[in-house]
């Protein structure tokens, strides 16, 4: 039994994405570099702080060290408690804004879940031939087993986005009256594009059990929508984060941790 795929160091790696891996590799590298550069710029900006009594600023690494030391000021146990209750389950939002909490949890866990499943699938793709000495059927098995959780996290994300759109269309609350709040639409529609094209890619990949690549229709590979999905997702959900409102996904948890739950 054989199948085609990407050959790396003499092993065949079944290509999960069914698109030109070189495009993916370049996009991923660019996205990660942009993310790191963005984070560095932000850290460097925070590191410009000169607290009362100090004579010079911290610098980027000094800022990072300061933030980490503040997080663990009250011990690892305390930091973990805050991480679980206030970051993972967003206790502070739950106390006051039940609908927004529900929306946030759906988007947050939907996003995190899909990220984790993507990492698991990629790991299985490499672990099969390199570590377990298995053929492509190992990957196909893992892939199939991830379908249901993939769907669940995907639908969570969709529901969260629908609530976010509905709130902005029909709510007159303070949250939608902020200065420059219109920028939220870029983020919401960006995420919507990720989800819609993601489901389309999922449908196309639903039939990965065929053994030979020749058995797939030619449009299956390098499908333009799927390629757009992968490239857009990497750029929008990774590279763009430090430069957008999505940055709060990093700063809000860090702030809660630094302020020990805000209590």
């Amino acid at each position: 039994m054989s199948t085609e795929g990407l050959t790396i160091l003499g092993k065949t790696v079944f290509d999960t994405l069914f698109i030109d891996w070189r495009i993916m590799a370049i996009t991923a590298i660019i996205s990660i570099i942009l993310f790191i550069v963005g984070m560095y710029i932000q850290l460097e900006k925070w590191g410009r702080g000169i607290p009362e009594g100090a004579t010079k600023s911290y610098g980027a690494w000094g800022a990072l060290k300061f933030i980490i030391s503040k997080i663990f000021e009250k011990g690892i146990g305390h930091a973990l408690e805050i991480l679980i209750l206030d970051v993972a389950f967003q206790r502070r939002t739950y106390r006051r804004r039940k609908l927004e909490w529900f929306m946030h949890i759906l988007i947050f866990w939907g996003w995190i879940g899909l990220l984790i499943l993507t990492i698991v699938a990629a790991a299985a793709e490499f672990a099969g031939p390199f570590l377990l000495n298995q053929d492509y059927t190992y990957f196909v098995g893992v892939w199939k087993s991830l379908e249901l959780p993939n769907d669940i996290f995907g639908y969570m994300l969709v529901l969260g986005i629908v609530i976010a759109i509905a709130r902005r269309l029909f709510s007159t609350g303070k949250d939608v009256q902020a200065r420059n709040a219109d920028i939220d639409w870029i983020l919401i529609f960006g995420l919507l594009i990720v989800v819609i094209t993601g489901f389309y890619a999922q449908i196309l990949r639903g039939d990965v059990t065929r053994e030979l690549i020749e058995a797939y229709p030619p449009t299956f590979f390098n499908n333009i929508t799927v390629m757009f999905h992968e490239v857009f997702t990497l750029l929008f959900c990774v590279a763009y984060v430090p430069f957008s409102k999505y940055f709060h996904m990093i700063t809000a948890p860090l702030t809660i941790l630094v302020n020990h739950g805000g209590e």
Binding site: G47, R48, P51, I67, D86, K174, A178
Partner: protein, 469 residues
Amino acid sequence: MAKEKPSINTVNFTAAQLMEFDACTRCGECVKYCPTYDARDKSQDIEPRDKILRWRDYMTKSYGLKARLFGPEKIPPEEIKKFTDDLYNCTTCGMCGTVCPAGINTIELWESTRANLVKYGTGPYGKQSLFPKLIEEGHNPYMKQQKDRLAWMTPDIKIAEKSDIAYFIGCTAGYNQQVLGVSTARILNKLNVPFMALGEEEWCCGSALIRTGQQHINDTPKKAAIHNVEALKARGAKRVIFACAGCFRAAKIDWPRAYGKELPFEAIHMSQFLAEQLEAGKIKWEKSLDKTVTYHDPCHLGRHVGVFEEPRKVIKSMPGVKLVEMKRNRKEQRCCGAGGGVKAGIPDLAMGVAKGRVNDAKETGAQALISTCPFCRRNLLDGRDELKLDMSVDDLVVLTAHLMGLSTDVQPPAPGAPKESISDLFRTQTIPPKPPAEPKKEEPKAAPKTEAPKAQAPAKEAPKSSAAK
């Protein structure tokens, strides 16, 4: 070509605080609870969120990616001035931080931003700029004499020279709300608790300077904190009682920072001390009040330090007192409006917020509004008077003294004494009217250049009494 310098700077901020500006999700929860936003007819400029977003925008224009590539974008000075004024339209009550889903420590953020802007040259606001000179030179913000710190003492009050318990009186109780000083002292005497007071050695706690971002000016609050701590230590204090929430907050949070280590004594609020004494069965009530009262949590005692239940415990134990809660109570109370330098700097804002809080009390149907901070009491009295409500406003300690059968009378008030120097609930004295002001002499007509007198610049006016917190 040399790049333009950023219009703002980052002094007085920690790295974590600069990160906090980026943590705001714009949810607007803070807006729902902000007392000054309400008092300013819901002006967007006053929103805590908007202030964070504006400073974030300034940071991005000055230090963001575009600024790094092409140079900082200029921020017009008048925009920074407007931002400063909006920032000072805040009592630093901390309600915004309490409800912030991202857990931003807004109290410290506002104080650091204020300090930054004072150094920049656009802060503080109005009369607040008088605080550093007054407190540095006179050790109080009321232009009073140190020798008068214990002027309220009556012959029946006994204060020890040395004791392991001290009563830190504070400028407001010492000079203006003397009913609080005499009530605290008489309660301690009645409970056979020997205590000492620093008297002329007591300096302002420094709160007014820290809250308005002026702590760095001659390091006055730091010097005052160290002086007070050392003076209390030298007299053998192991426990220091504060009846003023503002001083108590300063002692609990600001003094240890200034002192550089833990204080050599325990700082305790009088309401906590009373609750302890009550539990030990030492307080014997001798009178009944027969009134429905409501309790206002001072921000500095409640949200800032976490004392919520002890004052309620004392009130609930009082004979004939029915305690009813306002809708917004404990952590979510509404500020009285006096803090953050607002009473001194922006009196109309202080009044607007006070009216909001007095109306909260009115809704409960209470006959008396009780607090346990002389500064809250003063502002709530003003709010009550403005609304012309038939509701007493008094202090928990004064109420306790009265129901313990103690006199709350002070030395006969001098003409024109502050109205709050005597109890509102148990007024047995009257404040003699102020002597009529001398008629103004007309400007000699021979001075043609003199125009009609201009409104005096707020910064140059002498502060009225009870102006700092």
